[in-house]
Amino acid sequence: MSATIEHVDEPDAAAHQGHDKHHIPKDGYFIRVAIILAGLTALETSTYWLNFGSFATPLLLTLMTIKFFMIILIFMHLKFDNKLFSVMFYIGLGLALFVFGIMLFTFQFFRG
């Protein structure tokens, strides 16, 4: 955490990254991303009709993660924005995964 905060102290970083709007892609790019997302959703949904067997859960989790990060990084501009925003969000995300993962572990949740 502190590393990044140091980083934002660099005047240059601040001056450049404060202005995200220059880096924001055109509408067409977002539409393409949305089409991919729609495709991924279709693939997800197909697991309902097609039988992927034991492969289904890992597949679904992978697709979920891809979609998650596509939205976060592209639609929410995290990829283009200042790192500090990512840090703020990922601390929360990471802590959530960590504490609730351990919590569910103590309930033997992952034992099947």
């Binding site: 905060i5 140091e6 102290d9 601390i91 929360g92 960590f98 504490v99 919590m103 309930f107």
Partner: protein, 672 residues
Amino acid sequence: MAIIERPSAVPATVGPAGGVSAFVTPSKALGSYRRPVSTTGWKSWVFTVDHKKLGIMYGAVSLFFFLVGGCEALLIRLQLAAPDNTVLSAGLYNEMFTMHATTMIFLFVMPMAAAFANYFLPLQVGARDVAFPRINAFGFWLFLFGGIFLNTSWILGGAADGGWFMYSPNSSALFSPSHGVDFWVLGLQLTGIASLVGAINLIVTVLNMRAPGMKMMRLPVFSWMVLVVQFLLLFALPVITVALFLLSFQRNFGATFFDVNQGADPLLWQHLFWIFGHPEVYIIILPSFGIISEVLPTFARKPLFGYKFVVFSGVAIGFVGWGVWAHHMFASGLGPVTVAVFSVATMLIAIPTGVKIVNWTLTLWGGKLWYTTSMMFAIGVIVLFTIGGLSGVTHAVAPSDTQQTDTYYIVAHFHYVIVGGAVMGLFAGFYYWWPKVFNRLLNERLGRWNFWLMFFGVNLTFGPMHILGLQGQPRRMVVWPSKLTGQGFFNLAFWNKVSTVGSFVLALGVLVFVINIVYVWKKAVPAPLDPWDARTLEWMTASPPKEHNFDAVPTVHSLDEFFHRKYEEVDGEHGPKLVKVKTAEEIMAEQVANADTHIHLPSPSYWPIILAFAFPIIAYGVIFNRVLCVIGAAVLLLAIFGWALEPSVADDSDYDPPADGGESTKELASIV
């Protein structure tokens, strides 16, 4: 001459690209009303958005709740003074310790830390206010209303009686049928929202509102610790929010989350509570760590030893604190693997905490120690916290903890770290910063009494609890039987009595503090500008600071900026020597001479308090009558829209007499 200017509705500096935008900024929210603009009188407090006024109000209210929580503690101690005592009935006793803990933690220590943070954080980072002044005001009022709401349960059918961690299923309506737990749940939700918005506000303030040159590694340690605390709040509060929602959905809407007959697992509550609860204990202690990290260097007259280590260890505590919560559940039957992992993780936390103790001690080492009351409290913190921390390490040893948990040995541990650590640290802050806030020095003679009474009081009250606990006296027991007290040196009866006497010594100490406040207020002798020869930015301004904090926002060149402006190293006979080259008054004069012009300060607003007021209405509605919920929700919506439509700076026409557009009316204050 600095001029605070109230700009007209469309300041030229606002809007994209610095130009006047095509859309006109509205002058009045929700049609027309006149905005509060008073700078004096009660309105200037109720509608203020000034972080300093809010800080004072936070402080006053928390101090009040400290006395309330303390009186509850005294009743507890009275009941426990003798075996099979009858001061309190069993039911009342259960309410008493539940509310004692809740009041002390949520309505005293946390908001008192918020008081210090509110007041001094912007000053320490060299800002004119916090990032979101109206949200700041909202946070205060919501905390106040939440606290009042919580305490009205006493007269509306009984307070919560499930203990401060409110374990399920004992907290469900079947086992706790009064409305007490409902009040508790909703009250904590309200104060939780208050803390959450406060956390966001203060984080943004530290990151974004720093004066030029105030790099993170030049930030005073107090500001650093407050920053860590706000992150802990930001991420811990949502977890208890979930827990509280589950509980209130169960109690008020028939959900089944903790209904064992339906297959619920009561440990879910324990996990959710302690995932919040353990970070919470560092939320309690870190502000005090920050305060004494300011006080010790000032009165040792040398910089904090190992600034970076102290800062990083604070951050490390913040992180490791997330991985240890299950040490509160060692007896719950988690299984050996979980217990072993959490046991070792808990021990880890002693390392960064130890770093702090070591650095404070080494700050004293080789210093020129000046024993003001503030300094004595700070040293008291090191001593008492170490004792409490070490007993914490003995709990971390899980098998030992199964003998200790839920006994007075635990009560001893956490009162040493909380009262000896957090509370004494806050007192160090009171004595240190009182002249800054009120332009009065607290009396040092009374201060001495205050300190020694509290220091001995703490040891007398909580020291014996180590013995009581290890002798097998469990906590939360309205009575302890005389037959099981034992005889001789370690008998329970004697030490319980000592503890009770100690609690009154402690109370006397607190009383001396209250007397001190009244005494110096009555005497009204102004304090020197820089009474302690202090080191950080908050001292580089008037006492009390002007509304806009700094006439000229300082440019920061080093850690301990103020000190380095006052002192310079010159070559003496025996090598380099520090010499005072400037007084605080001279530095202030420089500031005034270079004062900024056109300082835009946010204007007071009705909306924060109105918005905050909507919440208790809704909360009462959930308990008593859903119609109230609807009314509350309407107020809520109204306030949100009013807020959103209101510009942060008041329109000219809001001033009395209304401005006629002339240049002169914008100049509301001029400071020489």
